[in-house]
């Protein structure tokens, strides 16, 4: 399947749809995409976030009916990470993120693509969102100085100057229907795992684009129907949702507070945001050996993974590192985490523990933090084991503690 895909000419646009236990809704979403997307070569990618078997089979059927590629995850990695995985698997120059509770309308794609190609320093383009009964849900979004967001047009009719036909520069647009360039999305680091499991990750991404000198535009000429919160309502009750929103709001203000508070009456500039320099995946020379670094659970911002990333950084010239975790993980996530800890990584791969196919010369090391906050090798063998031990000893020494950052 992968070889077949590589032989095919890559499409211009990749449409990424997430699904979690809402097979019928995803089916409708895919049908609307197939019906109303025209004038552009495109592919559809569905990322299933660990749905139950019944729902998964509905999605499988829908994908085969509509010719969509399906990426199946074993557990729910939530909105940001699942989208990152989808974007990395996409082949198009442009990516359109679509929620599965969205129904696209005729002629929606033309204005979005035109806007991304022609607007001045366009980083992302969002469509107008409407409820199924026709009420306006969002005509672009803005961030208040206190960090809370304004969904323009939700509570009262929108200001004419901000919603007339054409394009309008906004702070953010909801990622329910958002068009971006794939390379820009990846250079920005994708959705930040800091905001897992959800909320504020899209606003954060678009402010990062602004810090990179790119603007987000709201395109009033493209309209889609969005049911809103279809998935999150089934995962969390309203109290839990509020807690997550408040927690992520605090993180958001911690990162962007100075800029958003100072830009209305002052002249605060967005903080400098360095683009991620992606090293392309390529075959390493024969003398470089494979090193599998396995950690417990999912790749995250904890002490164990901090040390695993540091070991990978220290051995980047001697080994081809593969991070092994219980569940799939995007390369964006690893890059973002490494960047937050001030680590520079060379080439690497990410693999699910169940997919590892080890050769005799490969080194496999399982690392875990103990109660004294020291990371130790739980099990391991292979020619590079001694080098991993050395690197780990250097890290566990009191002088070198990981550089943490937001």
């Amino acid at each position: 399947m992968t070889n077949e895909l590589q032989k095919q000419k890559p499409p211009c646009l990749s449409i990424i749809v997430l699904n979690w236990n809402l097979g019928r809704m995803t089916q409708e979403c895919l049908a609307s995409i197939r019906t109303h997307t025209s004038g552009v070569e495109y592919e559809i990618l569905v990322v299933d976030n660990g749905s139950n078997p019944e729902e998964k089979s509905i999605v499988r059927d829908a994908c085969s009916l509509h010719g969509a590629r399906l990426i199946e995850l074993d557990q729910n990695l939530f909105f940001g990470e699942a989208n990152n995985i989808g974007v990395e698997a996409a082949r198009g120059q442009f990516i359109l993120l679509v929620n599965n509770d969205v129904m696209v309308t005729p002629g929606y794609i033309g204005p979005l693509l035109r806007a991304l190609e022609t607007a001045h320093r366009a980083g992302a383009i969002g469509a107008e969102l409407r409820y199924p009964d026709g009420r306006l849900q969002e005509a672009g979004g803005y961030v208040r100085p206190d960090g809370w967001t304004i969904r323009h047009g939700l509570t009262r009719p929108p200001a004419g100057i901000l919603s007339g036909a054409g394009l309008h520069i906004v702070d953010y647009c909801s990622a329910a229907c958002l068009l971006l360039r794939r390379d820009i999305f990846l250079e920005a680091g994708g959705f930040d795992p800091l905001f897992d499991p959800g909320y504020f990750e899209d606003v954060d991404l678009m402010l990062r684009l602004r810090a990179m000198g790119l603007y987000t535009y709201y395109c009033a000429d493209a309209s889609v129907i969005h049911k809103e919160n279809a998935t999150s309502k089934t995962i969390w009750n309203s109290r839990r949702r509020k807690t997550i929103i408040n927690r992520n709001h605090r993180k958001f203000v911690e990162r962007w507070g100075e800029f958003i508070a100072g830009r209305v009456f002052g002249s605060a500039e967005p903080p400098h945001y360095e683009r991620i320099a992606w090293s392309a995946k390529r075959t390493m020379p024969d003398q470089v050996q494979n090193l599998f670094l396995k950690g417990p659970g999912l790749v995250g911002r904890n002490r164990t993974w901090s040390h695993i990333v540091q070991v990978a950084g220290a051995l980047r010239d001697n080994a081809y590192v593969t991070f092994v975790a219980d569940e799939a993980c995007s390369r964006s996530r690893i890059y973002t985490i490494a960047k937050a800890w001030g680590q520079i990584l060379g080439e690497f791969s990410v693999m699910r523990a169940s997919d590892v196919n080890r050769q005799p010369d490969d080194t496999m090391v399982l690392l875990q933090s103990n109660r004294q906050d020291r990371t130790e090798i739980t099990s391991g063998d292979g020619p590079l084991l001694s080098q991993v031990k050395e690197a780990l000893n250097r890290m566990n020494s009191p002088a070198s503690s990981p550089k943490t950052g937001s």
């Binding site: 001045h120 200001a159 702070d171």
Partner: protein
């Protein structure tokens, strides 16, 4: 169309300029002069890009301020002020109408 818009749209189809009413608020000087020499082409491009950047930055800020104002006017206190203002206007108009009538 302002002279700046005319100039920019002639040079490039890349610029998304705000509507004329927004442009008037920006206070941008209409000082883009037409230099026909080929040698100045690069300078012109730089100048145009700089203007587009400034234009976009100003539009972003103006849209933000408009949205903030619009949002603040949807609060309860603002609605009360707005309602009283409407009432005041209504009675003011009625009084003047009555006087004229008399």
């Amino acid at each position: 169309m302002t002279p700046l818009q005319a100039r920019c749209s002639k040079d490039s189809n890349l610029l998304i300029l705000p509507s004329p009413e927004k442009m008037d608020c920006l206070g941008l000087p209409d000082r883009v002069t037409c230099r026909e020499s080929v040698g100045h082409r690069m300078d012109q491009q730089d100048e145009l890009t700089a203007l587009k950047d400034r234009n976009a930055e100003l539009e972003a800020r103006m849209n933000l301020v408009t949205a903030l104002l619009h949002d603040s006017m949807s609060s309860l206190s603002w609605r009360i002020v707005y309602r009283y203002r409407q009432l005041a206007d209504k009675w003011r108009w009625r009084r003047s109408y009555d006087r004229k009538d008399a």
